[in-house]
């Protein structure tokens, strides 16, 4: 016999140290043996299992295939969804051909061009940030950078060229919070400063953003973190300062004197 099994041979029931779960049983037709043993331990032996091969289904039901030309009842018999006669019924017509009439794609005018230097920023509303602070996911005593926003999930998985702080839910900000983001809207900035915080617009190029958000990628490759780049002349007015690498934790305070509006690291 298998060793250490004698005790169970003697006892008529097998011990199951699961908690009594009578309330969870859904169907009335399951036969349930409950045998109280030694007072405290109640054992339940199910007659059907929680997970069996005949009780599996996926979340998405599988779609049926369309079988054309298989009888009247299917709805796709005889002409099989092609109507009656003509070139389309007998063969294929080129997509977008309108019988010789100028097709729509030639009737409508072309427009515009694609600017290779345009920047897209991911928007985040102040209300969302307030909600995350209340939930405890963002530490409001530290500086909030684009890295913390991405890690927490405020902007999703992609940062394209940076983050733009927007004003939806601005009235929920009541404490001083310090931000370092790419762009801010006027109202969002007013709301944050009214509560006593500060917003600093920083510049990161693509490489700098990668170094900010994923410094471990550089470590894995055995490279040092790059030096943060200064903004090109066209973007110089739109930002306050150069971003710092690695992700900073303390905000740089704005000096109200006109001499120095920006500080370099």
């Amino acid at each position: 016999m298998i060793r250490a099994k004698l005790s169970s041979l003697l006892s008529p029931h097998l011990y199951r140290p699961t908690a009594p779960i009578l309330s969870h049983f859904p169907s009335p037709q399951s036969s349930l043996h409950v045998s109280p043993r030694r007072g405290s331990l109640v054992e339940i032996i199910r007659s059907y299992s929680l997970l069996s091969l005949n009780d599996l289904r996926d979340k998405q039901p599988r779609k049926q295939k369309k079988r054309k030309g298989r009888g009247i009842g299917s709805g796709l018999g005889k002409t099989a969804g092609r109507g009656h006669k003509g070139q389309k019924a007998r063969g294929t017509m080129k997509f977008g051909f309108e019988g010789g009439q100028t097709p729509m794609r030639r009737r409508l005018p072309k427009r515009g061009f694609k600017n290779p230097f345009s920047l897209t920023f991911q928007p985040v509303g102040l209300g969302k940030i307030a909600k995350l602070i209340n939930a405890g996911k963002i530490d409001s005593s530290e500086l909030i950078t684009m890295k913390t926003l991405k890690d927490v999930g405020a902007i999703g998985k992609q940062i394209k060229d940076g983050v733009r702080l927007m004003g939806r839910g601005a009235e929920q900000i009541q404490w001083p919070i310090h931000f370092e983001v790419s762009r801010v809207t006027v109202r969002a900035k007013e709301a944050v400063e009214a509560a006593g915080g500060s917003v600093r617009k920083v510049y990161y190029n693509k490489l700098g953003l990668k170094a900010l958000v994923k410094p471990e990628w550089f470590e894995k490759k055995g490279r040092l973190l790059p030096r943060p780049a200064r903004p090109p002349p066209k973007q110089g007015d739109k930002v306050d300062s150069i971003g710092r690498l690695p992700a900073p934790t303390k905000p740089i305070p704005f000096i109200t004197m006109k001499k120095e509006a920006t500080l370099s690291v």
Partner: protein, 211 residues
């Protein structure tokens, strides 16, 4: 016996998904996908039919187009003919589907925790038998109620006595711990493992999946 089992549950609950005791919290769809993957990769896929180029016979036009009063034909091996080709028939192919390794691992965890949650998971010190007699195993299974099939999982290679004793029983199956899979777990009501097997499985679950 009960102390041994208590140790088991603290062991496994560290690694399994929370021991699900109600229906809704079990991830059935994951288990469904893993079982479907297992059965699909098992398919042999050696079904084959002949297309019109493969059916033996000539491609000559059987008779002239006009003047005979018969229907027009270009070949005697078209799909409408007896002995002709099969249109869009099956060809030998693989039915295997792809499932992420992490999903496969999660399926195993869900299956194990389902069996543990309903109390159908037993762990022994080891699964060594003194004799190769089948009678002992038969008695062991008989005295467990509401169990029709038992799966014994041992650590490394299965020892000879266990193999011989369970060989002739259709309701008892033995697997080494590497062979533990969701379909087998679901197929059998009761899962009996040795401590060595549990350790190996826990270690395997902890090794990270690398690309």
């Amino acid at each position: 016996m009960s102390s041994k089992q208590k140790r088991l549950y603290s062991f496994l609950s560290r690694d399994c998904v929370s021991l699900a005791e109600s229906f809704s919290s079990l991830k059935r769809d994951i288990v469904h996908r893993v079982v479907r993957w297992q059965l699909a990769k098992q398919q042999q896929g050696t079904h084959s039919t002949k297309t019109i180029s493969e059916v033996s016979g000539t491609g000559r036009k059987p008779y002239q187009q006009k003047g005979l009063g018969r229907a027009r034909h270009g070949t005697l091996r078209g799909p409408q003919f007896r002995g002709g080709a099969t249109m869009h028939g099956p060809k030998p192919r693989s039915h295997a589907i792809k499932i992420n390794k992490k999903v496969r691992r999660l399926g195993l965890k869900v299956a194990l925790s389902a069996r543990a949650g309903e109390g159908k998971l037993l762990v022994f010190e080891d699964l060594e038998l003194p004799t190769h007699k089948t009678k002992n195993i038969v008695n062991f299974v008989k005295e467990m109620e509401s169990t029709k099939k038992v799966l014994l999982v041992d650590g490394g290679t299965i020892n000879g006595n266990l193999k011989l004793a369970t060989q002739n029983l259709h309701y008892v199956n033995v697997l080494p711990s590497i062979g533990l899979n969701v379909y087998s777990i679901l197929l059998h009501d009761m899962l009996v493992m040795s401590r060595d097997a549990v350790n190996r499985i826990v270690e395997h679950m902890h090794t990270p999946i690398n690309r």
